[in-house]
Symmetry: C2
Subunit: 321 residues, 2 copies
């Protein structure tokens, strides 16, 4: 017993650190299959839940109001996520987003965006995560993302940034500044086109590569994801599902799987990034099966492993060259 506690202690302290920045929030979602009240959401939440499938010490930096249920915070803690970097603003209201998906689930209308406490968010990285091995900057104002990087005391092995068209429209200068400082950018196809001014994703990736990131991940939703690095390219399909129920959080779950796997494996070679893309796609394939975080909360390791096998048989072939 004594020994196993010591072993667990050693293992915990030897685990790599993953620092996650992103919203912890309320979502209300409408899809063709139904609608929800305010439920647990936010990029930081999805990234954290996804990354918790790997052997890493992770922390979320975020902000909520005191309307945010303790049980949601406890839920994150129960997944081994350090929440000391989640500021709780007294008298403040938590960020709230509401959206309605169209019939094909590939597009959506935003119904409500209440920034609330997010409007004045000044991220504070917990002391013991300023030397994180991997930093996952979830979709937030580029100045918030930069501020997190400013607080680091050592250079991470990998910094990954997710962003969206909104920041290209209203904070492009700041976005380009933070993009310069990251190793990997994850972005969807339309956003890659907007950021680069190129229609061809190959050309778009090359231009974004020149903005700083050595690796460019272009997410194509149900059509999978591309990873570009110099002249190399890798493609991971989305798993063909009988039914996509709710795409909310799929991109963040992908990012959490990607960064969690890299943090665990400590290997930033291109061939290991391929594995990370597959791990991210695999976890995202579960996320869309139910509303919000519902499916991620019941997901077990056996299911993850079984579906990884499906990913393998979905894409691997035997042509001799």
């Amino acid at each position: 017993m004594q020994k196993s506690i010591f072993a667990a202690y050693l293992q915990f302290h030897s685990m790599n650190k993953l620092l996650i920045v992103g919203t912890v929030a309320f979502d209300a979602i409408e899809t063709p299959f139904g609608k929800t009240d305010k439920i647990l959401g936010g990029a930081g939440t999805f990234i954290g839940l996804s990354a918790s499938h790997f052997n890493v010490k992770s922390a979320i930096v975020s902000v909520v109001g005191d309307d945010f249920p303790q049980e949601y915070l406890d839920l994150l803690t129960s997944r081994g996520i350090d929440i000391s970097g989640i500021e709780i603003v007294k008298g403040g209201k938590t960020f709230f987003w509401s959206g309605r998906y169209h019939n094909d689930l590939n597009s959506r209308d935003t119904l409500v965006t209440e920034l609330n406490v997010l409007a004045d968010f000044k991220p504070v990285v917990p002391q013991n995560f300023t030397d994180s091995d991997v930093v996952m900057l979830g979709n937030l104002h580029p100045l918030v993302q930069s501020s997190v990087l400013d607080q680091l005391t050592s250079t991470p092995k990998l910094v990954v940034l997710d962003t969206m068209n909104f920041w290209m429209d209203c904070a492009l200068t700041e976005l380009l500044e933070v993009i310069k400082r990251v190793d990997v950018i994850t972005i969807n196809d339309e956003e890659a086109r907007q950021l680069s001014g190129e229609y061809s994703l190959v050309k778009a990736a090359a231009k974004i590569h020149n903005m700083g990131p050595k690796y460019v991940v272009i997410k194509k939703g149900e059509h999978g994801a591309l990873l570009f690095h110099n002249k190399e390219v890798f493609f991971a399909p989305a798993l063909p599902l009988e039914e996509v129920f709710d795409p909310t959080g799929a991109g963040d779950t992908f990012a959490g799987g990607f960064s969690g796997y890299i943090a665990q494996s400590e290997n930033i070679s291109f061939s290991n990034m391929k594995n990370a893309i597959i791990q991210g796609s695999n976890l995202a394939s579960f996320c869309v099966e139910k509303f919000g975080t519902e499916r991620m909360l019941t997901l077990n390791e056996q299911e993850v492993k079984e579906r990884l096998k499906q990913f393998k048989s979905l894409t691997q072939f035997e042509i001799e060259l």
Copy 2:
């Protein structure tokens, strides 16, 4: 010398036979990059050129008018394609299609369709191809496709059918009849949805499977192709290209590569079908680089092999399970 001629004779006569039915036609194409006059086109042409990259004895069954240049027929012959099944109608005009692609190249408007000699086409399978190993039924009226099957004297190892929404709209009964008789159907995503009434491609494939074909190939253009067989599924991406120049013929080139490879390898296992899907996708990736058949006419085996390597590195990963 004597011996090598004999060896070549033996090799030729031991090759498997691929019977191709499809249009041999004129196309006039407009893309954002330029436009062509009447050039060589037609599903049968693209299928034949693509399949000629494999060790098979192939024949095209089709019809043209006497306005069709002898040099185009010679070109097919020079690729080892038997053209005795291409009827030349005296005083007739060759089928002509003209289309204009939109800026994203994912959709197009048909500007002109002149059926001409195709209106009364009665296919005649050449005597020595009635025992073909593989039959590739290109996109044509379902009754023409059925008529070809009626003329066969032995059961082929594999019958592949390509079709389009046009026949679902105006000859659905006949289409469903011929679909019952084939092993593989290739169809695009929108057409799969129309034919099945299901939005989910997984559900669509299951319904189409119940219509007869053991294998359902759903083509998603720049987003790749899916192969369904019972509960199994395989996905081949399209190679990300710097520029797609002209998508005309890509689907037929895919079908030609698929059926040509299967005919050569005489292996209709699911794992070999995966290889066939990759071979088809690989050849189609060249087709779209120039107008019409232009790129396929200069394509050499070294280029085909090099790009197959790209396909491998695009999709293969090393996760241990």
